[in-house]
């Protein structure tokens, strides 16, 4: 390779290496565990007091709503978890709906203080099947 091309190739390589490092750091800083409720129970010790994302189905009749505050149970494979959330209630939120909640998990009281709450169903295109979750809150 001629010296000039070499120099440019080096600049390019340096750019991609630097950026790869930034991306890797970014992932390191921002990734969050994503468990279903039963998996969360298995790993309860590990994630106690940390931000975690979890998915489950709203238990029928468990929703208590006071203004913008929600308190409800979600269930997956026989395990349940209490979710507390305050904020915009996502479209389609009701009994028996699969939801994804993200927030800090507290082992004492087995409760998730959710910052975001999304309904997973229906997907953008079909009624059945779980598609992309709809964003709500932020």
């Amino acid at each position: 390779m001629k010296p000039k091309n070499l120099k440019i190739a080096l600049v390019g390589t340096a750019f991609f290496l630097l950026f790869g490092w930034v991306v890797a750091q970014g992932i390191q800083r921002t990734w969050v565990y994503y468990y279903t409720v039963d998996e969360l129970m298995e790993n309860a010790g590990k994630v106690n007091g940390r931000v975690v994302k979890t998915s489950g189905t709203v238990v029928s009749g468990s929703i208590q709503q006071q203004g913008l505050s929600l308190d409800f149970l979600i269930e997956e494979n026989g395990e349940t978890l209490r979710v507390r959330y305050r904020g915009a209630i996502p479209d389609a939120f009701t009994d028996e709906v699969p939801v994804v909640a993200e927030g800090v998990y507290h082992r004492s009281g087995n409760v998730l203080e959710a910052r975001t709450l999304m309904t997973k169903c229906p997907s953008r295109y079909e009624a059945e099947g779980d598609g992309a979750p709809q964003a709500a809150g932020s």
């Binding site: 950026f19 565990y33 913008l68 479209d91 295109y125 779980d130 992309a132």
Partner: protein, 658 residues
Amino acid sequence: MSEFGRALLFLAFGTSLYAFIALVLSNLKGDARWKESGIRGLQATVGVLTVASIALVSALIRADYSLQYVALQVSPGMGLTYRIAAFWAGMDGSMLFWSWVLSLYILALLWETRQERHDPLHSWAYASLALSLSFFVFIAAVFSNPFKPAEMLVSEGRGMNPLLMNVWMHTHPVALYLGYTGLAIPFSYAMAALLAERVDNTWVRFIRKWTLIPWVFLTIGIILGGRWAYLELGWGGYWAWDPVENASFMPWLTATAFLHSIIVQEKRGMLKIWNINLAVITFLFALIGTYITRSGALTSVHAFAESELGPWFAGAIWSIAVVAAGLLYMKRHRIQSEHRLETLFSREGFFLINNWVFLALALTVAWGTLFPIVSEAFTGIKVTVGQPFFNSVTPPLFLLLIFLMTVAPIISWRRASSRALVRSLAWPTVLALLTGGALGIGMRAPLIPLLGYTLASWTVYTTLYEVFRVGRARARRKGIPLFRGVVELLRTDHRRYGGYIVHVGVALIAIGIVGSSAFRQRLEKEYPVGSTFSFEGFQIAFKDIQQGIEPDYRYSRATLEVTDPLGKSRLLYPEYRFYFKWNMNTAEVALWPHWSGDFYAVLNGYDEDQRMGLFVLFWNPLVGFLWVGGLLVVFGGFYALLPSHRRNRSRLEQEQPV
């Protein structure tokens, strides 16, 4: 009906596969009869797919519930336009729609190249397109047949998801498909250039238009999708870095890079291998995008593995990558760069850096989108990567792109002179610094948003100043008024000035994004009927709430009398609906756009006992710039597609080494 539709799909699969085989044979043997036959096969496929599409649309309009797809998509209350839109609103219909759109592209391409069909460059491209088409028709016929008979007969269909019942939602998938499918053409020509050993300027010059068209549609799709999210989802934003959104953004990024780097090949005869790679990568991203959009299978490895389509798409993606890499390797001696890059401080140097940045962005988005799957597959740890990742990693790259976008169009080829640059940049730089300084003091902006504003305004000033400067020179030379000089200039080279318009549009979009993300305000609170409250200088009187029932839903509609900081008043009616068949709530957003930002009101529920409404209010500064900028980008794209007066002349010029 069901049998007829299914037969049509298999027939189309047969004809497209036949066309592929015939075209490959014709190219290998140099036999014109095989070629003729293959082209007939392609044309027949277009016809069959058109009949199938008409059959499906007519079933949707007639509400023929003997088809499962119709029963799921159509309800008696749905009007004609929604019934037509149901063609592409569901998974199964959209696969047929995809194939049909691709076949129409092929038909247009056959027409455009009708005089040059003997050229192996074109006939190899036809073959590659025939193969892509047969793949999608196969998927439609076998895995997502919209003509499947209904599992049980219903007297009334369920109808479309209410979130999808919105004009933006119906237009944006069409635009996205036109984008995704069209990207098969640059890919096919890249393959053809290798197979026909014609990696010269012919294919890049030919492919520019056929890349720009899908690029414009992809842009329209992304912007309309954002508009839909903004108006319909009620969370105050327009972009959530959701996998479906990322899926459309990745091919857009690499297609944009491609549109820039083919200019370098055309003008300087460099980056030939790189261009082929970019065309391939772009099509791969389009395939990944189609798969993600259509299957929603990015939620976990299991969803991916359980999806029937997963292995087929994965297989297609890997085979394309392997075949393309193999071809490039085999033909590497046929590809010679005509010039060397002398310095990065030149237009080609800036284009190269621009390409690196676009590729880095696309890879970042891909990595963030696919990381959860990779992590689960290799370590078993289920994780999620969301907005915080994208929002922290991508801004520096976007800023770098805005910088390049400003300088690259005015810097000269080969080796730039600093003096010429200073002449073009001096005044715009002063203006941009003044704008940035004013904003920094006025809004107390943090560093990154401040840089964003300053750079974006720099782009706008520099581009306008350049047009003004060159237009003025033309006016003086020809002794015509300045305005006419500028207009004439803009008409001399649609391609270049279309690009300028796109750049200004992108700068405006950047201003809108910085404003509405860095300075957004949000209020969530419950208020009793009759109360008044204030938010960001707006006075809001919660006058009344009405409840009622429509055929498909019941609603609560609030009446808000809003007074803006300047004293103007307006009534807004945010609405909260519950759709019976879907067992689903939706919020109808009420908007009051100002030039300085949008007042955005959502009613999130109503407590009948206490007569309390739950409101979420947003103040989204400068978000209007985003939509105006989007319109400009699309307009600039179309402008660049207009035939240039200069084009004929430049074809002659290109015979000479530049």
